[in-house]
Amino acid sequence: MKVLVTIKRVIDYHVKVRVKADQSEVDLANVKMAANPFCDIAVEEAVRMKEKGWVSEIVAVSVGPAAAQEQLRAALALGADRAVLVQSAEVAEPLTVARLLAALCEREQPGLVLLGKQSIDTDNNQVGQMLAALKGWPQGTFASRIELEGDELLVTREVDGGLQTLALALPAVVTTDLRLNEPRYASLPNIMKAKQKPLETLTPDDLGITPRAHSRVLRVTPPPVRKAGIKVADVAELVDKLKHEAKVI
């Protein structure tokens, strides 16, 4: 089975973001970028599936700027066989990304598409579900465990209140939660080898997709700032403040 695994280039998750003064967007100039952490988990899972012999080929895919090649090369160093960058200067909306991925699925005919459950920049948590809808495939979102049993994929999902297990017929779409696995690091020899692996660049046009706008960001503002609090000396003072000042207990 072939697996498509998606990677988004986003601001590094350690970075404290700043909003531009003109409120147009978050300032990404000279900020450290990285692969979205949930996408790292998807790559790791694809590699583990290949190591178990469930998967014959891993194709890493990104929809993003030319610089996203860096994140695709990192996926190749971790064990992806080849990569496809659908180059788009603007940040594509989730439905556009899903349409591009659906078109790529037509071409590649994967048995499984693995995506992160959400990207840590836009926090949408939409693309995997949208892709599954466009393809008419079953979906296993927020996966914390994936097993192949016969011709079905058993996906344990993190849901409010606990865990739920579904059996999905293939082809299917699965989105990863944090606890699915612990991503490995690439070794230097593998990083060198990844430079020789194929990385194809396409445009939305090549896939026959015209991006459409479904929404417009009117402004981006910093969140309200909490007032600085006080330090209390001991438990007695804390309890007193909570009872008589904050009146919460």
Partner: protein, 312 residues
């Protein structure tokens, strides 16, 4: 102009988040209808009929028993043409379902709405809540998930709206429910609790979480956890508070032995009063805490429990 709210329930009762979504829907100034999809869930529809909606739509089907997205999205998409807005809670239920609905209808979607400025203009946090985006939807039908804690819940009234039984729509085959493992809890639900006590890696072990639980029982609080505590196996996944876990905004949030990473703050910084208990005076959690106590949690927790004991 009518808004359709998709109810979250367990075939026996409505989840509280649905009441908050109805609260958000009232801000749109449209009529509201509520869709209940499930199996053997007539009682849910009857309770929902008293929530100030014009009509309750009831779709019962084996495929809806476990709220699978494949069947649910097909059912909602078949209905959607008559509505201006489709709303569901931004819970794992709504997040699983609504993007699938939107794509079936060739629509974009706005996730985790925290305020409604106009029928087409919505406010939502991005970058783990470190920026707030105001977004205008350009689609004819607006598909939204709503962050429950950002809106008041509606209260049940006397008047019952009619219940219309829908022909069930089966989704594509290919997804089967195998089972579930729910974490039993006697305590209030995390996302709607008035007081939340959360523990981090500083607790050191699963057994030490019992200290938090005892204190939680004293205060009628729910117990949460940081990602570090969950990953270390001290607490269950569904207790995680943060960008990728649950978002809470209780009256009182007590953070014990957790540093306050950006991703954790995203899940709790709208709490009314935040208390931090940590022995590291430099921990970022103190930058958002109203009351901070720099001390060893193993001294503080038993002392707090003693001082909060009835009659003390």
């Amino acid at each position: 102009m009518t808004t359709l709210v998709i109810a979250e329930h367990d075939n026996e009762s409505l989840k509280p988040a649905t009441l908050h979504v109805l609260g958000a829907a009232t801000r749109l100034g449209t009529d509201i209808e509520l869709l209940v999809m499930g199996k053997g869930c007539r009682a849910v529809a009857e309770a929902a009929a008293r929530l100030g909606v014009r009509k309750v739509l009831l779709a019962e089907h084996a495929g809806h028993e476990h709220q699978l997205a494949e069947a649910g999205a097909a059912q909602v998409a078949a209905l959607a043409g008559g509505y201006c807005h489709l709303l569901a809670p931004a819970t794992t239920f709504g997040k699983n379902l609504m993007p699938r609905v939107a794509a079936l209808l060739d629509l974009g979607m706005v996730s985790e709405v925290i305020a409604i400025e106009a029928p087409d203009t919505f406010v939502r946090p991005i970058y783990a809540g470190n920026a707030i985006a105001t977004v205008q939807s350009l689609d004819a039908i607006k598909v939204l998930t709503v962050r429950a804690i950002a809106f008041e819940a509606v209260m049940p009234g006397e008047q019952a709206a009619p219940i219309e039984v829908l022909a069930p729509v089966a989704g594509p085959a290919g997804s089967r429910f195998l089972g579930e493992e729910l974490s039993p809890s006697e305590r209030p639900e995390l996302t709607s609790a008035r007081v939340v006590i959360s523990g981090g890696r500083g607790l050191g072990s699963k057994d030490n979480f019992a200290l938090l639980e005892r204190l939680a029982d004293r205060l009628g609080a729910a117990v949460g956890a940081s990602r570090a505590a969950v990953d270390a196996g001290f607490a269950a996944n569904d207790m995680q508070v943060g960008q990728t876990g649950k978002i809470v905004a209780p009256e009182l949030y007590i953070a014990v032995g957790l540093s306050g990473a950006i991703q954790h703050l995203a899940g709790m910084k709208d709490s009314r009063v935040i208390v931090a208990i940590n022995k590291d005076a430099e921990a970022p959690i103190f930058q958002v805490a109203d009351y901070g106590l720099v001390a060893d949690l193993f001294d503080v927790l038993p002392e707090l429990e003693r001082q909060l004991a009835p009659g003390s």
